[in-house]
Amino acid sequence: MNAAIPQLDSTVKAYADHSDDGIVQLSFSLKLPDGPAARRAATELAGKMGLRRPEVVYALGLEASVTFFIVYGECVHAVAVTEVNERDTDGAFKDREEIEAIIAREIGRPLIVVGASTGTDTHSVGIDAIFNMKGYNGHYGLERYKGIEAHNMGSQVSNAALLARARELRADAILVSQTVTQQDLHVQNLSQLMDMVEAEGLRDDLIMICGGPRISNELAKELGFDAGFSRGAYAYHVATFIVGEMLRRRAEATRWR
């Protein structure tokens, strides 16, 4: 088979060994004691998920009444290849030097960015990856950027404290990191922050960005943020967005003046 680049509007199926064989692997647990009945139930469940010839290749009783399964099967579904959102392609992002140049040339003053991991979330790894001087995976953090004044408040910061700090520093952008997502805690926490920003009449003055392993740009927008970043996002992704949004807002303000 030729490794042809998929054409727009063509369809794709999962691939493991032969083209379009549809083979997928999945694993899950069922609240059943390990045995033939449990394996049968797992196979049937996989069938309902759209897998033809599902096969339990491994089952393990985790405790008396819970069994873990590893299943392979042929997924019958195919999907159409459609254009992806421009923001999600790496070409749309600028590197640190370009961003610094745009700030110096077009914004003409330092951008003030305040960030925190909010609520009871003790994880600072996400916010640190974006802020810390050394950055992450070889991509410097915002603290390294000329023209960006980066204030990382760390973790377990209350929404009120974050907002107070943003007001005090006259911040241009707020970055919120959420790692813990049990019982949708992150959604409640992020919504509360947006409510507070709105209530204080600060929405137009702030670029609001959230990030975390379970946060998508779509979810962020749904919650009223300007953007959301997830796994694989580095400081330059976030900085590109901030600078772009800053210039967009500025252009809009001039247009209506």
């Binding site: 694993s27 899950f28 647990s29 393990l60 985790l62 819970v66 873990f68 600072s124 790894v125 640190d128 810390n132 001087m133 050394k134 408040m153 760390g154 973790s155 377990q156 813990v180 997502t181 049990q182 392993p213 379970r214 796994r231 694989g232």
Partner: protein, 270 residues
């Protein structure tokens, strides 16, 4: 509260609150002194939080500050009358898995910690920083983490789970982690007794360098004091000022007639 509930382990770090919760450093050291007295008297093993420096700073470069902090935490605990067997100094397996010979550096750090604190259990934390959602790769890295744990006889281990960095572990992640650790611990049970480190080799040299730099850091601290070292950002790349942070307004100078009967009770020599 932990003592009343009969807990075995509690996180008790002299620097963590200062660096990561921005609690005033004077306040933290006072609170830590008292909480350690209670934990020491109640038989609770305290776990210090050096693993956090390795997560926020670069794990290879931050190694000497980890050793320096382990020593500081150790002596502050001894001063609060915590028995050695109840002092679990912290360490973690956070070197970038892409680094050539990274396993050797981890081994050096773990062995160094073991040898510096022979009477203490060591708290060994799993790789998290570089775990990126590839559950299969994370499981592989965790296997090496388990190998170093057993080969250097770390006393307390938090197991790594394949889904590290994705969500709170699901039931199967916990069992898979236990199963993998059991496999490695059984399979390499007495490896430590079989190993000698080649003098001048990578592991021995690394341990020697880390210890030398830690010693230098502590020597510099003799001049700046611990507060000065924290202000200079020596730990976890985080800098805090001695007049800043939360809880400062709760600090009072003790009067000449100040009496705290609990300190006497908790620090009474057995």
């Amino acid at each position: 509260m932990g003592a009343i509930e009969g807990l075995d382990n509690m996180v008790n770090d002299a620097l963590y609150g200062v660096l990561y919760r921005d609690i005033n450093m004077v306040r933290t050291f006072i609170d830590q002194r008292v909480s350690r007295m209670i934990n020491g008297a109640a038989g609770i093993v305290i776990n210090t939080g050096e693993d956090n420096y390795l997560r926020t700073a670069d794990a290879v470069q931050a190694a000497p500050s980890v050793v320096a902090s382990q020593m500081i935490n150790y002596y502050l605990a001894v001063e609060s009358r915590v028995p050695e067997a109840q002092i679990a100094v912290g360490n973690s397996f956070e070197i970038d898995p892409g680094l050539r010979n990274g396993l050797l550096y981890e081994w050096a750090q773990a062995q160094l910690t073991r040898e510096l604190f022979p009477g203490c259990p060591v708290k060994f934390m799993p790789p998290t920083k570089h775990m990126n959602g590839n559950i299969f790769q994370t499981h592989a890295v965790d296997a090496l983490f388990n190998l170093v744990t057993i080969a250097t006889r770390q006393g307390i281990q938090t197991l790594g789970v394949p889904t590290e960095g994705i969500f709170t572990p699901h039931i199967q992640d916990r069992v898979l982690a236990l199963q993998a650790a059991h496999y490695v611990f059984e399979s390499a049970r007495d490896l430590d007794a079989e190993i000698q480190f080649r003098p001048g080799g990578i592991i021995e040299t690394r341990a020697r360098e880390v210890l030398r730099e830690a010693t230098e850091l502590l020597a510099r601290m003799r001049e700046t004091g611990l507060f000065g070292a924290i202000e200079a950002g020596n730990f976890g790349d985080v800098s805090r000022s001695r007049s800043g942070g939360k809880g400062r307004d709760g600090i009072f100078e003790t009067d000449a007639s100040y009496l705290n009967p609990f300190v006497d009770i908790f620090t009474r020599q057995n």
